[in-house]
């Protein structure tokens, strides 16, 4: 490269740097140009600026527990199946509940039905309110329409008794979980 070329390039670079370094002309507002105010006053003024209010929260309803639904009595009252199968369905359901909750609900038929409807700590609905396996009193019924008898042996074991076709509990045709 020849010397004149180098000088030309340097000259162009110098011009470019000069043009690039020229900032647009600023026009400071009156406050900033007022050199009479001390920094203490400025701080006071800044402090005097009201703080923004927190964003207005839209009131929301507390989160609703999500109810998990299950078809816990699937297969119950199947006309093609042996009635003893119904007892096994409930027994299986109790087994699942015992696994999830570590114990079984204890009480009358209605209380157990309420638990199965979702009134439990995990909000799991094992049956639905319109279930054909519930009567008008909220009891779980067998295929002949009689409420089951749930016998609380312990927190881990409930014996199940259906009144059977004669619809009389403690009679010869009862179906039980012992059978």
């Amino acid at each position: 490269m020849t010397k004149p070329k180098i000088l030309t390039i340097l000259a162009l670079l110098t011009i470019g740097v000069y043009i690039g370094s020229r900032s647009p002309k600023s026009y400071p507002d009156s406050e900033h140009t007022s050199s009479s105010k001390s920094s203490t006053d400025k701080i006071s003024e800044i402090k005097a600026i009201p703080k923004p209010l927190p964003p207005k929260m839209t009131p929301v309803s507390p989160p609703q527990a999500t109810t998990v639904t299950r078809n816990g009595l699937a297969g119950h009252s199947d006309p093609q199946a042996n009635p003893q199968q119904d007892i096994l369905v409930i027994k299986h359901l109790f087994s699942e509940i015992r696994t999830v909750f570590r114990e079984l609900p204890i009480g009358e038929n209605q209380q157990i039905a309420a638990f199965l409807l979702g009134e439990n700590s995990r909000h799991i609905a094992y049956i639905q309110k319109n279930s054909p396996h519930l009567n008008d009193d909220g009891e779980i019924i067998d295929r002949w329409g009689t409420p089951y008898f749930f016998h609380a042996m312990s927190r881990h074991q409930i014996d199940i008794r259906s009144a059977g076709p004669d619809r009389i509990l403690w009679s010869q045709d009862d179906l039980t979980s012992h059978q």
């Binding site: 042996m153 927190r155 509990l169 403690w170």
Partner: protein
């Protein structure tokens, strides 16, 4: 290197100082233990009189006795409520056995017609009823029940859970605690009164929580005596050699802890069985006791009480039990049979104790899973809560009904639903009154009945 300011190196001087302290501490501990042993031995000698003997007999009615048909108010108003509530479970008023109660302020009570012997004992002052006893951790109202406050036990109306709670009276998960109030009481007094070689806790009805202590375990017998290994039976030369070889195997030292423990327990069991069977060898036959399940068990208890000197026992706790009280189905006949068996056994046992002059030394009491629903399920009754119980013996302030009989009006302040009575007396109060007579001091009661401090009184007054 920076040294941890808390670091305190053991040098020779400090080691000697600590060793000296430890030695002194150990010496004191050994001295105390030796003194306690000497004290126990001395007290055993001083208290060697045959007169210093007390025994408790827990009669557990498995299944939940229908005490609504055991003790019944017979004034017109209450009996009308009773009949209306019980429907087909109603016992005719004319068949009830009237009690000559001294403390019911003119309110008459009757008991089930099967309980003739108990009626006689009540009227003679050797039997008392305690009304509406149940599992409870603090005095409770219906509001407590509905809100499931800490006064209310969990898993009400469940057989197993309530049996365990009746027997342990511990609020925490009973399955984790695993000691019963009989066992805990025995822990406190066994070494003071008894020869240490045999257990003061004897069950004639198998495993139970009631008699399990921190240090003591019950010895299990059956109505025929103490069972031992079949391999030890026989009297010919071969059998004798076999038995001796078996004993030698058990007396060996084993490196494996489980093997050693098994050997120790087996050997202890054999020795205890030999001791107990030898002790009762000359006992009376107590023919006044009926040949029923419960009668046979109480006959064995009577033999053990008669043999107390041979066993070196001055305080004993026995456990007997009978089942079938879970009367959901057709109840009336079944319950009558059950109470008939109970009555015969109680009456016979009273006679047996009387025959060996032990009536004042032995207190028997009933316990059960729970009471039953006042209303009928159509044929029987279902699981309830509070129930009425009997305490028998010469030391009982009998002919009285203790506690508060529930208000049997439907929807009353005691009705948690279907006539499941909210207990007005807790198991702790019931047990503490008995345990106090047995020898526990006021200060010892809370360690045996952890909830007793929540109740107004620990003494219901039915023991002399």
């Amino acid at each position: 290197m920076n040294q941890d300011p808390n670091f305190n190196p053991i040098n020779r001087r400090r080691f000697l100082k600590l060793s000296a302290c430890a030695a002194v501490g150990t010496t004191s501990l050994f001295d105390t233990l030796l003194n306690l042993r000497q004290l126990n031995a001395a007290s055993a000698g001083v208290l060697g009189s045959n007169e210093d003997y007390k025994a408790l007999v827990c009669i557990f009615l498995y299944g939940g006795n229908d005490s609504n048909n055991t003790l019944i108010p017979t004034n017109t108003a209450d009996y009308s409520l009773y009949a209306a509530g019980r429907e087909q479970l109603t016992l005719p008023k004319s068949e009830l056995l009237a009690l000559a109660s001294l403390n019911t302020q003119g309110r008459p009570f009757g008991i089930h017609p099967s309980l003739t012997g108990c009626r006689d004992l009540f009227d003679s002052g050797d039997l008392a009823f305690v009304a509406n006893v149940g599992t409870l951790f603090a005095p409770a109202s219906l509001s407590d029940f509905r809100n499931k406050t800490s006064a209310i036990p969990s898993h009400l109306f469940s057989h197993s859970d309530q049996q365990v709670l009746w027997q342990t009276s511990v609020k925490e998960d009973p399955a984790a605690v695993r000691t019963g109030w009989g066992g805990r009481a025995a822990d406190l007094i066994h070494s003071i009164h008894n020869d240490q070689s045999t257990s003061m806790l004897v069950s004639i009805a198998g495993a139970n929580f009631f008699q399990v202590g921190e240090n003591l375990l019950p010895f299990h017998m059956d109505a025929a005596g103490a069972r031992s290994y079949e391999i030890l039976n026989g009297s010919d030369q071969y059998a004798t050699t076999r038995a001796e070889s078996f004993r030698q195997l058990l007396e060996r030292d084993y490196a494996h802890k489980m093997e050693q423990t098994f050997a120790d327990i087996s050997l202890s069991s054999i020795k205890n069985a030999d001791t107990f069977n030898a002790a009762i060898g000359d006992a009376s036959s107590f023919d006044m006791l009926p040949n029923t399940g419960l009668g046979d068990q109480l006959r064995m208890v009577a033999k053990l009480i008669q043999s107390r000197e041979a066993l070196g026992q001055r305080r004993q706790i026995f456990f007997v039990a009978t089942g079938g009280y879970d009367t959901h189905g057709p109840q009336l006949n079944q319950h009558a049979g059950l109470l008939s068996e109970l009555d015969g056994a109680i009456k016979g046992f009273h006679g047996a104790l009387d025959s060996i002059n032990a009536l004042d030394k032995v207190t028997s009491f009933t316990a059960s899973d729970f009471g039953r629903t006042f209303d009928s399920n159509g044929r029987g009754s279902d699981h309830g809560w509070g129930g009425h119980h009997m305490v028998m013996g010469g030391a009982v302030n009998g002919q009285r009904i203790y506690g508060q009989f529930p208000n049997i009006t439907p929807g009353s302040e005691h009705d948690t639903g279907r006539g499941r009575w909210l207990p007005t007396t807790s198991v702790d109060q019931y047990g503490a009154t008995i345990a106090r007579w047995f020898g526990l001091s006021e200060s010892e009661l809370p360690s045996v009945f952890p909830n007793i401090g929540n109740f107004a009184t620990s003494n219901l007054g039915f023991m002399a």
